[in-house]
């Protein structure tokens, strides 16, 4: 029987949630016996190869690419989990939400003490995806089935959540594993 597939993505996140997943340490070897990894930044599968049982998405949406990838995940995954504070609330990147985007771009590309910018404008090449007006949590864009808070959620939180769902058990995490920090 083929193993259930798991896909992962980091959108407007820092990869810390992926690191926390790797912090399950030697249990990674157990995990790869339980599941097969589909699209994920840790392998070279760049497009979905089929239906996935679980999608783990870290980070919120800060540009049009993030929205596109998130919609793809919703389409291909039976269960979609928002992992970490950026995915569930926007997190630290959402600190820019109270500031006009133009000011953020100007600070980074025009005003800094080391900036050398002969063109006098921020990057705007068509190769670059459009930046959204603000950073959105995942549930503002698609339906999310589970939320795992934490910055990042601990390895134990991720492990217990994954193994419960893979074994068709209800996801009931003990109080100490559900942290907002």
């Amino acid at each position: 029987m083929s193993k259930p597939k798991v896909a992962t993505a980091s959108l407007a996140g820092c990869f810390g949630c992926h690191m926390s997943l790797l912090d399950i340490d030697e249990r990674i070897l157990q995990l790869v016996e339980l599941v097969e990894f589909d699209k994920s930044p840790i392998n070279d599968i760049k497009r979905f190869t089929g239906r996935c049982a679980i999608g783990l998405v870290e980070g919120g949406c800060c540009n049009e690419d993030n929205v596109h990838v998130l919609r793809e995940f919703r389409e291909h995954c039976d269960i979609l989990i928002a992992v970490g504070d950026c995915a569930t609330m926007g997190g630290l990147p959402a600190m820019r939400n109270s500031i006009p985007l133009k000011e953020c771009l100007e600070e980074a590309y025009l005003k800094g003490p080391t900036v050398y910018n002969p063109a006098g404008k921020p990057p705007s090449d068509p190769e670059l995806p459009l930046v959204l007006d603000r950073v959105y949590p995942l549930q503002a864009v698609v339906k999310i089935d589970y939320f795992l808070p934490g910055c990042p959620p601990s390895a134990e939180t991720l492990w217990q959540a994954l193994t419960a769902l893979l074994n068709n058990k209800p996801l009931e995490l003990p109080y100490e594993l559900v942290k907002y920090d």
């Binding site: 990869f15 990894f37 930044p41 760049k46 953020c104 090449d125 920090d181």
Partner: protein, 479 residues
């Protein structure tokens, strides 16, 4: 420009951290006319940090990057030490931070080598992408995979013992640190130490032997002459936590040396280009065309005069002998240099664990407040610069960050261009394996693009052939 130029993109780049793509322009014979490595995310950190109290900064900024949060945590803390007037922090505090930093170096280098890059080296650049990943490594070389996982774990445990948490800890505070190392924490780390030393030696041997054995292919692979930059200790030794800025030319001549960190603005500038959110740093005296440079393990081995731990120093000499003592400009030599640092970090960890200062209680210092300060250290991926201005109300009013991966922007673009010319140019068919060659060169730099855009990201890769009018001719995706 000819009207028959084709555009091709590789998107997203995988097994690196962050969002990026590669775009290529080819003529009618598939000869490469232009190759660019684009960073596609933007966060705006420099602006939204304004108004926050300075003591929050070491905890906030590490959220730029979950792979090397400790680097940002400590660079910000070093700057804030100066803001609170702590020109020197007490030895127990500095040693705790150093232990945290070497733990970070150890875990990050292990992660990069074993989890992200070893598949290319063990299976070949154009191996089947279905097995060319860490799970493939775990199946074929289980012992090696376990070592990689456990080495990373050890580094993470050091971070937890010094910072309170494996990812995004809170140990360093302006002026010092908020805990020392308990005897039980120390003993738990010492118990695993001999095994880690052995495995670090083993990892170095793998990287060294691989490089030496394949030198003929690897030496030209995406290689080019460049300047190199890092901090070094006052006596010229490699020092990853603290030192003065040194830049050398491709031949090894000093461009500047022993530059005070507070004056980095006079020596380094960053060019903004329209097609990437990542800026392009350069040495001011040489200008944007000639002043770009490399940072990271390769640059550090090149800039330092020696390493102050015996086994890593022996390895450095061995490394230097390949290029007759001259700076090594081989892109793929990054892996070997990185593993020398892995061993160096483990030697330093060993030294520190035996130092009774780590159980000291003098953890904080302060003095006369300053308005402006710069904190620089060598992060796993290279020189990391944090610069802040803080007002009388304790609020940050300006922040300028030049992160490790940003320094390597021009070199990575150069490597992409070289590999595209060497392997893809003029080929009638662009295969997945050929595309991975470009990614292999990018991965050598261990880019961390979340940091570099001060944004948030992950990495995938697709290639598109587009004609001059912009219609898609051919599309290849991974897998």
């Amino acid at each position: 420009m000819s009207t028959t130029l084709k555009r091709m993109t590789i998107e997203p780049v995988t097994r690196i951290e962050g969002h990026a793509k590669v775009s290529l322009l080819l003529d009618e014979k598939n000869v490469i006319k232009e190759a660019r490595f684009h960073i596609v995310e933007f966060r705006g950190f420099e602006r939204f940090i304004q108004g926050r109290p300075y003591w929050e900064v070491p905890v906030l900024v590490q959220r730029l990057c979950g792979i090397c949060p400790v680097s940002h945590h400590l660079a910000a803390a070093k700057a804030m030490d100066l803001v609170v007037g702590a020109d020197r922090i007490p030895p127990p505090a500095e040693k705790m931070r150093r232990l945290m930093h070497y733990g970070q170096m150890f875990q990050s280098h292990a992660l990069h080598f074993f989890h992200l890059c070893s598949p290319d080296l063990l299976f070949g650049f154009d191996a089947d992408p279905a097995i060319r990943n860490v799970i493939g490594v775990a199946r074929k070389f289980p012992e090696l995979a376990v070592q990689g996982v456990m080495m990373r774990k050890y580094g993470q445990e050091i971070i937890r013992a010094t910072a309170g948490k494996k990812v995004h800890g809170t140990g360093a505070v302006p002026g010092g640190i908020n805990k020392n190392l308990s005897i039980s924490e120390r003993d738990a780390l010492l118990r695993e130490q001999p095994k880690m030393m052995d495995w670090a030696r083993g990892a170095l041997a793998i990287a060294r032997d691989y490089t030496v054995e394949h030198l003929k292919t690897l030496a030209p692979f995406g290689s080019f002459d460049s300047n190199h930059l890092s901090i070094v200790r006052r006596d010229g030794a490699m020092d990853l936590y603290d030192g003065l800025l040194r830049a050398i030319s491709p031949a090894g001549d000093r461009i500047f040396d022993m530059v005070d960190n507070q004056r980095y603005v006079e020596y380094i500038a960053e060019e903004v280009k329209d097609w990437s959110y990542m800026k392009f740093p350069f040495i001011r005296s040489l200008g944007p065309e000639k002043g770009w440079y490399r940072v990271g393990p390769l640059a550090r081995i090149n800039t330092c005069d020696f390493i102050d731990t015996p086994e890593a120093e022996k390895a450095r000499k061995d490394f230097a002998s390949v290029t007759g003592g001259k700076p090594n400009n081989i892109t793929m030599a990054y892996h070997w240099a990185r593993m020398i640092e892995l061993l160096h970090a483990m030697e330093k960890i060993t030294e520190l664990l035996h130092d009774p200062d780590l159980q000291g209680r003098d953890l904080l210092a302060k003095g006369e407040r300053r308005e402006e300060a710069v904190g620089i250290l060598e992060a796993p991926r290279g020189t990391l610069i944090h610069h802040y201005v803080v007002n009388n109300n304790d609020q940050v009013v300006r922040a300028n960050l030049i992160v490790s991966t940003t320094h390597n922007n021009s070199p990575m673009n150069m490597a992409v261009k070289k590999v595209a010319e060497q392997y893809l140019s003029g080929k009638p068919q662009i295969t997945e394996g050929l595309l991975n060659h470009i990614e292999v060169a990018i991965r050598a730099y261990d880019p961390c693009l979340s940091c570099a855009t001060h944004s948030l990201g992950s990495m995938p890769l697709a290639v598109e052939l587009v004609d001059a009018e912009g219609s898609v001719l051919e599309r290849r995706m991974r897998p």
